[in-house]
Subunit: 147 residues, 2 copies
Amino acid sequence: MMDIGEVAERSRVPPSTLRYYEEIGLIRSISRHGLRRQFDADVLLKLSLIELGKTAGFSLTEIAGMFGKDGRPNIPRDQLHAKADDLQRQMLDLRMLRDALRHVAECPAPSHLECPTFRKLLKAETRRRVTRPASGSGRRGSSRLGE
Amino acid sequence: MMDIGEVAERSRVPPSTLRYYEEIGLIRSISRHGLRRQFDADVLLKLSLIELGKTAGFSLTEIAGMFGKDGRPNIPRDQLHAKADDLQRQMLDLRMLRDALRHVAECPAPSHLECPTFRKLLKAETRRRVTRPASGSGRRGSSRLGE
DNA sequence: GCTTGACCTCAAGTTGACTTGAAGTCGTAG
DNA sequence: CTACGACTTCAAGTCAACTTGAGGTCAAGC
């Protein structure tokens, strides 16, 4: 049992954000001590997961979707695999961008948009994106996540 | 020379967004035909790069920073390498999340927060994050990018 | 027993990244 | 030559993800 300040300090997530996360149902405080929320240590793990998901580019809504409605992960296996595949693709994007950057850092061409290697990198990317139909993520956000 | 509709169609980026990007100085139209903006084909490449950067989790401000103030990439090599290293780290995050997801998809434990393998994954991540000091990206957004 | 500091609520403000809408301007096809 | 459709501007709206501020509560130390 920790109160919000301790959670904030340990997770490096500000109290205001923690309250916000609780409000939208992403995390839960287990009880109150007077007015004060009391959090179980589990919340730290969950916050790690949330941060991880955020850096991976998921919205809070999507992250919430990864835990079941009731608060614990509870998703069909194939959906999880689909997410994992999304991540895989995103890693490829990242690698492409990283390589582009590294190249730009060393390339002696006057303008990088004219460097053939650079253009080839981008063409490849464009092709990849266009080939994959639309990959829409179906953003239909209702006001509250945990409803 | 294309006008905005063609750019939109080819890049799959809506006209409103293209105007917005121009307004904030991310892209440039090369001239006008009557009122209509005329874009050079180069803009398509630049838009690929922008999309790439976005999926990599950069803000438009950061992306703008990757091109020089004048519109073409023009950044010190070590800054580029630093960006590339950021990407490297972000790829690791992604891989971790992907592995976590894959694991969850197969793990038979009742609640994943209790599965030791899962906890180990997260602990590792937490350690990595905490070990690296703060890694702050210095978000100091002024109203317009290209200024 | 009272002050202090860490918490509380609730409403409103902020930022980034766009989108939407109203009202206007073109150039080309019929 | 006029009507149409593709563009234009500019202001305002939207959404996610928070942060800030005013005013209030509480338990613990002096």
